[in-house]
């Protein structure tokens, strides 16, 4: 019996290596999140859908709301505290991330960045380890900001499930493109399930937020349909 790729698996399900290999010619098997090697078997430790990608990569795709930091991911955080030379930033994980004041573009000991408690920050995870405090930075390895830093000038920040954030960032998802054809707006999506939106008017911002939240369980055709309805409703409201 081959492994049930695309089917729901739940913790405690067990596969043998031969079961996974029979769907694959690769010599090595790579186990992603949700799978664990246990003696000569593979054990599922998370409920979700079993996925497979060539060559020999298996993982469990599950519905999460809680973010678990992982190195190199771009996240949106909220500055909570200023302790000496570092800021404590809430990125939705089990621990607050630290952000040095020197890890901004152009920041020096004399020229401090303008960051206050309560600011929203778009940053990249430099250190993410289950045993250590996560550390974020607002510069890339060349010392450029490349879009990261404090997000200013209003807008609206809201939380979604991690799946929705990943869906928005997926190039195959047409939601942002379709919305972009109808409204002019700025958006920042953190992989930690936080999304910041700013449009010309509050009505438009709210409409975009609603569209994003509603798109979680919709496919591309349904999304197109929904965008059409929303833009009609918004234009009617703005006339009033």
């Amino acid at each position: 019996m081959a492994a049930p790729i695309g089917n729901v698996v739940i913790p405690g399900d067990i596969f043998s290596f031969t079961q996974l290999k029979s769907t694959d010619d690769a010599k090595k098997i790579l186990l992603g999140p949700g799978l664990k090697e246990n003696d000569l078997e593979i054990k599922v430790i998370r409920p979700g859908i079993l996925r497979y990608r060539k060559p020999g990569v298996y993982w469990v795709d599950c519905h999460h709301k809680r973010y678990i930091p992982s190195k190199g991911e771009s996240v949106i955080g909220i500055v909570n505290q200023k302790v000496g030379d570092i800021f404590r930033v809430d990125i939705g994980g089990s621990e607050q991330a630290s952000l040095s004041y020197l890890s901004f573009e152009g920041a020096t000991k004399r020229n401090r960045p303008d960051v206050k408690v309560g600011d929203i920050i778009y940053a990249k995870l430099l250190v993410a380890n289950k045993d250590m405090e996560p550390e974020i930075v607002c510069i890339d390895s060349y010392g450029r900001s490349s879009g990261m830093g404090v997000i200013r000038n209003g807008g609206f920040l809201f939380h979604t499930s991690l799946n929705l954030a990943r869906k928005l960032l997926n190039p195959q998802c047409i939601l942002l493109k379709t919305l972009g054809n109808r409204f002019q707006f700025e958006i920042t999506v953190g992989i930690n399930g936080r999304v910041w939106v700013k449009a010309h008017s509050d009505i438009q911002t709210i409409a975009i937020v609603n569209a994003i939240v509603a798109s979680e369980y919709k496919d591309n055709d349904q999304i197109k349909e929904m965008c059409k309805r929303i833009s009609k409703a918004v234009s009617r409201m703005e006339v009033d």
Partner: protein, 232 residues
């Protein structure tokens, strides 16, 4: 989000009438019934219902921090009033049952808190609470070694066994035993009992409960599948 099995009142009564009573009452669940929590579920076993929510892996209080694994805490909230010593005992039973099931070492220095609100106790309350807690953990996609399923058995005065007893049966019963099984080998994880029973009765009740637990696991699988396949 919700998965419902509808059993008509007459059918349910007919089931009860059969006398054998070796069936579970109908199970219904609503996964992600609350939005702000990491995982939540409302579960009903017959008329007994409870709501369980899970937060985690979240920030932990410094005095409860463990450097090698996550701290699992279970809070039980009774339907009315403050929690009393008997509820503390129930919390302890649930914590000891669920902690080994959770892969706590994957999230050191964090907390996984499970909060269970009793909404209606009409028999087999402990079993319902454990099952709802397990479903909430599944909803939050916490890493787990195995799942647990709890089944209650009541031994009546006339030595009859009743699976998943209702409040009335519980009141009249000589003893009530709650078994918790794991989902891999269907081995016992926990036994909580009140009253007296013989060894033979225990073996018989165990056999009954073990069979019933399989349908609970099947129910878990269906509930989770319904939630996950919604986005497909």
């Amino acid at each position: 989000m919700a998965s419902f099995t509808v059993v008509k009142q007459e059918e349910f009564e007919a089931q009860q009438e059969k006398g054998s009573a070796h069936v579970l009452r109908c199970l219904t669940s609503g996964l992600s019934c609350l939005t702000r929590q990491d995982g939540s579920v409302s579960l009903s076993q017959g008329d007994t219902t409870s709501i369980a929510v899970v937060y985690g892996p979240a920030e932990v209080r410094i005095n409860k921090e463990q450097i090698d694994k996550a701290t699992v805490e279970v809070i039980f909230r009774p339907k009315v009033g403050l929690s009393r010593p008997e509820h503390r005992k129930q919390e302890r039973i649930m914590r000891n049952t669920l902690e080994p099931a959770i892969e706590a070492h994957l999230h050191p220095r964090s907390s996984i808190s499970i909060i269970i609100q009793e909404t209606e106790d009409l028999g087999s309350n402990l079993a319902c609470c454990i099952n709802s807690a397990c479903l909430a953990l599944l909803d939050a996609a916490i890493n787990m070694n195995y799942m647990v399923a709890a089944v209650s058995v009541a031994v009546k005065e006339n030595e009859d066994m009743v699976l998943d007893p209702s409040k009335q049966v519980e009141k009249e019963a000589k003893s009530i035993i709650t078994y918790v099984f794991d989902s891999v080998n269907y081995q016992i994880v926990t036994i909580a009992s009140t009253g007296s029973f013989s060894r033979v009765q225990h073996m018989e009740a165990l056999k009954l409960a073990r069979e019933a637990s399989k349908s609970v696991f099947q129910f878990y699988r269906e509930s989770v599948a319904k939630k996950l396949l919604m986005s497909e």
